[in-house]
């Protein structure tokens, strides 16, 4: 119970700081990201469209970022108040 709570707290800090963003040009749709996503998000479909993974189940655990053999995924800052995207 306590562990679960801690995990959630950690998740929130990360979520506030960033999200996973793909670079469509680098992605070859191999599916390693999907294969390794612990919550089964279709990361590859986001990568095809070049859209960041904004998904209620995303833990921003970084599995997909670390496993992508093409460096197509990265963490991006989500500073709502920044003018730069």
């Amino acid at each position: 119970m306590l562990d679960l709570f801690r995990y959630d707290a950690k998740k929130h800090t990360i979520l506030a700081a960033g999200q996973v963003a793909p670079d469509a040009d680098r992605c070859v749709q191999c599916g390693i990201c999907v294969y390794n996503c612990p919550v089964g998000i279709d990361v590859r479909a986001h990568a095809w469209r070049g859209e960041p993974i904004i998904h209620e189940y995303c833990l921003t655990c970084g599995e997909c970022v670390a496993r992508c053999p093409r460096g197509a995924l990265r963490f991006e800052k989500t500073d709502l108040f920044s003018k730069k995207k």
């Binding site: 070859v28 191999c30 599916g31």
Partner: protein, 437 residues
């Protein structure tokens, strides 16, 4: 309007998306001869190494296809009749079209060595090839790998991951000499050897040896023989231009298309690996075998088929891949100008542009696994090879592809006392482009 697309690869899928973005009612038919339909071809390497399941290779669900609203026909196109705007499948069925897109890709160039018909010899084009290889990939058995470029290495590493005894034959004295420089080749070779691959330099296979109709080894040019249980090769790819040739469309090494991806027949388009497209950076018509370029070309072709005039400008060739476990990015023109003895045509994940020897200076830095090589022109960067740490590969890709003026840092890049990575990082920071973390 009747659109017909021959080939169910990434160029074809992108074309359907493009057509549907402007024409919701036209009839689209896609014809493909691969029993597995559309899947990630580059992903085959990771299927081979066991990093993913074959089911993972399919990017789309049946539901997603349904939404794209097209008809899929399994079959092989045998003839194109331009006059009657019809094509014929192998089984004889005729299909008519108003606009046709040829996206049939490229195929592995067969080994031209005595004995290459024997059982136990494989290439890696399709999912079926990968499945066949895996069926024979038994732990402890010996496999000989022949060829160059990325695919040969992926075969070597994939089979090493399957615990095979991997022997890699190189004709010359280093790996991928047309794209990598000497030090880069050495880094890759060193890592392969560390992982357990046995490299054989100046090793040209003259004959494949047989035992009970199966491969049992190779005889090399120096007279030695090397035993093996399996032989895999990747010596380059060749666009499938037969259909286009029969239909009297203009071809060279690929199907020649203009900037609208149009062939010499205004109703017929070509894109992807099969197309030979205009490359503004060299002023020539070149071939590539790159996933992202195939996608871009397919998309542009689809728009043009649907009546939009969308000029395609070949992007800077770019590939990120893993060579001997080391993430490596190749951008723009980086070639050594040498011809690669291990490759006959271009390789998968390769572009002819990379080969051109730019008349420029190379600055380099790095040691062991983090290495960066830049090819510096008068005013802009023409190419880069980034190995290991990839932090700067994204900035470099933008600086190269957008021809950003580097005159303010040119002197610094050539100053051997400064680290080129620092110079690039500083320059990028001041360019005021999106921030990464």
């Amino acid at each position: 309007m009747k659109y017909v697309i021959i080939g169910a690869g990434v160029a074809g899928i992108a074309a359907i998306e493009a057509i549907r973005s402007v024409d919701h009612s036209g009839e689209i038919t896609m014809i493909g001869d691969d029993p597995h339909g559309f899947y990630s071809r580059p992903g085959l390497a990771y299927y081979l190494s066991g990093e993913l399941h074959d089911k993972t290779l399919y990017p789309r669900t049946a539901e997603q296809y349904r939404k794209m609203n097209f008809r899929y026909l399994k079959g092989r196109v045998k003839n194109i009749f331009r006059e009657g705007r019809q094509l014929q499948l192998e089984e004889g069925q005729l299909i008519s079209f108003d606009r046709l897109l040829i996206v049939v890709g490229a195929q592995a160039i067969p080994l031209d060595v005595k004995g290459s018909h024997l059982e136990g010899i494989f290439k890696l084009d399709h999912l079926e090839d990968a499945k066949r290889i895996l069926k024979h990939a038994r732990r402890g058995r010996r496999v000989i790998v022949i060829g160059g470029g990325i695919t040969a290495l992926e075969l070597a590493e994939g089979l090493l991951a399957r615990k095979m005894d991997v022997h890699y034959l190189l004709r010359g004295n280093r790996y991928w000499n047309s794209v990598l420089d000497e030090q880069e080749s050495k880094i890759i070779e060193g890592r392969l050897q560390e992982e357990g691959v046995t490299l054989h330099y100046r090793a040209q296979a003259l004959e494949i040896l047989e035992k009970n109709k199966r491969v049992s080894g190779v005889r090399l040019a120096d007279g030695k023989t090397l035993k093996c249980d399996l032989l895999v090769y990747a010596i380059g790819v060749r666009p499938r231009i037969d259909l286009a040739k029969q239909a009297d469309l203009k071809t060279e090494r690929g199907i020649l298309v203009d900037e609208y991806l149009q062939t010499n027949d205004p109703n017929i388009f070509a894109a992807g690996d099969v197309a030979q497209t205009y490359d503004p950076s060299s002023g020539r018509f070149t071939l590539s075998s790159l996933w992202s370029q195939a996608r871009e070309q397919g998309f542009a072709a689809g728009l043009n088929m649907a009546g939009r005039r969308a000029a395609y400008v070949k992007s800077t060739p770019f590939n990120v891949t893993r060579l001997a476990g080391l993430t490596t990015t190749v951008i723009g023109t980086v070639g050594s100008g040498c011809t690669d003895e291990d490759l006959v045509g271009i390789a998968r994940g390769d572009s002819e542009t990379w080969r051109l020897l730019p008349d420029i200076i190379a600055a380099q830095e790095g040691f062991d696994v983090n290495r960066m090589r830049l090819l510096i022109g008068e005013k802009r960067l023409l190419g880069a090879v980034v190995m290991g740490d990839q932090k700067l590969s994204y900035p470099l890709e933008k600086i190269i592809s957008e021809s950003i003026d580097i005159s303010p840092i040119r002197e610094k890049l050539l100053n051997s006392k400064l680290r080129i990575s620092d110079v690039i990082a500083e320059f990028w920071k001041n360019l005021n482009l999106p921030k990464r973390i």
